[in-house]
């Protein structure tokens, strides 16, 4: 467990660490310049931030030598802040030496990723009361990295090139917006092209225009795709935080856990990367805390004392499937049922199958943990996980087998920026329905609608399906002519949306609605169509919640 594989991260670590050292260097120069005027608190605080990150990253990568060295260096800067030492030439020299030492250590790692630079001597020197050159150069048992470098070498890093560019995400977003505008203009061009072709005049020019339009069409699509690619990051960025977390939690609990990743190079849009961390933390904590048993318990069950937690990621069409599985104790369905007795009448519980009972763990206030622990089991968690994931347009499911383990499966769109949508008409208005939540659509037959408790429902394959009239819900005018039902949702939480027209599917770029227009229940955002019209994107999870909020569990099942 101590040695999780981080070799894939070394390049990024080095790049990042060098960035921090560059900041250290420039801050030191600033500090030296201003030495006479006391300590610039802001500068040193910022520097401490950079050092802290460097320390954390080094620790995570297992470079404890560097970690301890940076820790000592931090201590010196903190003393500066507290005023318990003064900026003088000797101290500055020590700081610059320290930066050099760190660069040397990074260089060692770059040449041999397996190297674990031992900076014990340097660390001791750094902490000493004054500059102690003997300590750094003398000891033969610890040659240290500094001795290995010649003076000329120490400035070589200046000439180094970087292939990684850090760009403000907003700029990329702006690029995507501009590409979106191009798409709109392209539509206009296509219309002109069509009109010219129809008019039958200037056939030669018309065909030239057609050709040019087709080329532009392709270039714009390529451009859009390229921009989307730039926004993609491997899910590794999120996963790399977990080995440390699992290790610490496992140690706390006296458990032995082996964490493995599969498919960590699967790429996701940054918008999804940003949001997926929180739900994963919950799931992994749950697995460590409630899933994996202690070595003694496992031995009693004839299992290997080391528990396994596996996280996999894979792309499936426009979705990413992430699973978090453990080979622990599994979820005890009987215990769920016991807990549920306080909430649901017995006949409802009896009619629920195993799967439905398992689903209950996503309900608010449900926790079967016998002990409330610091890590999880506070009765919050899985409901939040589910809420967050459905907010992202995804779903989460659970399967579990007693004593064999539990698997959570998360299905998320690859990007939150572009979705496939079914365009529907309600009254005079168009709406976009995320295709990921559309199950099927059917014609609304005369007399098919029944009333139960004043609510409209239809029977669909012997199941009761609650209905929402979109034009009523959004007050978009009277329905006209033939109507359709679009079944949305999943599993047992499905509803039928009555719409006045199905207008085909389309890829749409999601734009957030300004919070100025308020929290609009049932609206996830808006998009701009090829003809420049703004169309609202429906939030299916929100619609379903509002529908089910007023209903009892009985109707759901």
């Amino acid at each position: 467990m101590e040695d999780f594989d981080v070799s894939g991260l070394i390049k990024e670590y080095l790049d990042d660490a060098r960035g921090h050292l560059d900041r250290l260097d420039s801050a030191l120069l600033e500090l030296e310049k201003e030495a006479g005027r006391g300590v610039d608190v802001e500068l040193v605080s910022e520097l401490l931030g950079a050092l802290h990150t460097l320390k954390g990253n080094s620790g995570m990568m297992g470079f404890t030598g560097i970690q301890q060295f940076v820790h000592k260096l931090e201590g010196l800067f903190k003393m500066l802040l507290e005023g318990s030492c003064m900026v003088d030439d000797a101290l500055m020299e020590r700081f610059f030496d320290a930066a050099g030492t760190l660069r040397g250590a990074l260089e060692q790692i770059e040449q041999d990723p397996k190297a674990h630079p031992d900076l014990a001597a340097e660390t001791a020197a750094l902490a000493g009361p004054g500059p102690q050159p003997q300590a750094t150069n003398g000891g033969e048992e610890a040659p240290g990295v500094k001795a290995a470098r010649s003076k000329a070498d120490s400035f070589r890093y200046i000439g180094e090139k970087t292939n990684i560019l850090k760009v403000d995400f907003e700029r990329l977003d702006h690029l995507l917006n501009l590409a979106g505008e191009l798409v709109i203009h392209r539509t206009k061009l296509t219309q002109v092209d069509a009109r010219l072709s129809e008019s039958g005049q200037d056939r030669e020019i018309a065909s030239e225009l057609s050709e040019a339009t087709a080329l532009i069409h392709k270039s714009i699509s390529d451009l859009q795709e390229a921009i989307m690619k730039v926004r993609m990051l491997p899910i590794r960025h999120v996963l790399q935080r977990f080995p440390r977390m699992v290790r610490d939690l496992a140690k706390d609990k006296g458990k032995e856990i082996n964490l493995t990743f599969r498919g960590e190079d699967t790429e996701l849009d940054k918008t999804v990367i940003d949001e997926i961390g929180e739900p994963l933390i919950h799931l992994i904590r749950n697995a460590v805390d409630h899933g994996i048993e202690t070595p003694q318990e496992r031995a009693g069950k004839d299992k290997s004392p080391v528990g396994e937690i596996t996280i996999t990621a894979a792309q499936e069409g426009n979705n990413i499937i992430i699973t978090v599985s453990d080979n622990g104790s599994g979820i005890d369905v009987e215990r769920i049922k016991e807990k549920a007795e306080a909430i649901y009448p017995p006949e409802v519980l009896d009619s629920m199958g195993r799967e439905n009972l398992l689903e209950l763990i996503f309900e608010a206030g449900f926790s079967t943990a016998r002990q409330v622990t610091e890590v999880s089991g506070r009765g919050v968690g899985l409901d939040v996980v589910k809420k967050n994931i459905s907010r992202l347009g995804g779903i989460v499911e659970v399967t579990s087998e007693k004593d064999a383990g539990t698997t959570f499966t998360i299905k998320l769109p690859l990007t939150l920026a572009i979705i496939s949508a079914l365009m529907v008409r309600a009254g005079m208005e168009l709406f976009a329905l995320p295709l990921s939540s559309v199950i099927e659509s059917l014609k609304l037959e005369q007399g098919a609608i029944h009333l139960i408790n004043g609510r409209e429902v239809i029977m669909l394959r012997d199941r009761v399906l609650p209905l929402i009239r979109l034009s009523d819900a959004f007050g978009s005018g009277a329905p006209s002519g033939r109507q359709y039902i679009v079944v949305v949702g999943r599993a047992e939480k499905k509803i039928g949306l009555i719409v006045d027209g199905l207008m085909g599917r389309q890829e749409v770029v999601i734009k957030a609605l300004d919070d100025y227009v308020g929290e609009s229940k049932g609206i996830a955002g808006a998009t701009i169509l090829g003809d420049g019209r703004v169309v609202l994107i429906l939030d299916v999870a929100g619609l379903i919640d509002s529908e089910y909020a007023g209903n009892s569990m009985k109707e759901v099942c």
């Binding site: 100025y516 308020g518 609009s520 701009i528 019209r533």
Partner: protein
């Protein structure tokens, strides 16, 4: 003061708004240049500088029969009304959202915000695009009238109420040739926080 109401710029009633505003600003610039050179002969430069500082550069528009004004630097552009997309459950004064060259911006009806009677759209209706705390926002107006300069000397502080409008939405009232120009406090009119105040007024 040096302001010369004879030389005000009349905005064309139609045409691309950016062009309107561009042309108007240019013309207004000319006025300033002329008044500037006049003044240079008549006064010493210090006085002149003081006078220039107090000059308000305004875009005026109509809501119903009253003429309102916003400072020109808050106005990004003026566009024709080509419809909007309603947003269900949005506050009443939000008419909906529009596409401004790839950006989706809300359109606000200042009449509804200031509890005035709503008027029907006409061919003169315009959306004045303004910037409020870094965000773009459309304001629906009955027609855009002119770009003019007003000396702050002729602007009086807001009374409790003008033409049925609560004084808190108003920065001042300018008098020009017997015309009454109401200077709106854009941040208040466009501000979200004013919703609570509006609710309170409605309750009364």
């Amino acid at each position: 003061m040096a302001d010369n109401p004879e030389k005000k710029v009349i905005l064309p009633s139609s045409g691309l708004a950016e062009e309107i505003l561009g042309a108007a600003s240019e013309a207004a610039g000319e006025i300033q240049a002329e008044t500037g050179s006049e003044a240079a002969g008549a006064r010493n430069p210090e006085q002149d500088a003081a006078a220039a500082e107090e000059m308000l550069h305004l875009v005026t528009f109509f809501l119903g029969s009253e003429e309102y004004a916003l400072e020109i630097f808050r106005v990004q552009e003026i566009i024709r009304v080509t419809g909007w997309t309603r947003v269900p459950n949005a506050p009443e004064f939000i008419k909906g959202v529009i596409n401004l060259r790839g950006r989706i911006i809300p359109v606000l009806d200042p009449r509804l915000k200031m509890l005035l009677a709503e008027t029907a759209l006409t061919k003169n209706s315009r959306i004045v695009v303004v910037e409020v705390s870094g965000k773009l926002l459309g304001m629906l107006v009955d027609s855009v009238h002119q770009v003019l300069k007003l000396s702050s000397g002729v602007v009086e502080p807001p009374p409790e109420e003008v033409a049925g409008v609560d004084g808190s939405y108003i920065r001042g009232v300018g008098k020009l040739d017997g015309r009454l120009i109401i200077l709106l406090d854009l941040d208040r009119v466009a501000g979200k926080e004013a919703r609570a105040a509006q609710a309170a007024v409605a309750e009364q």
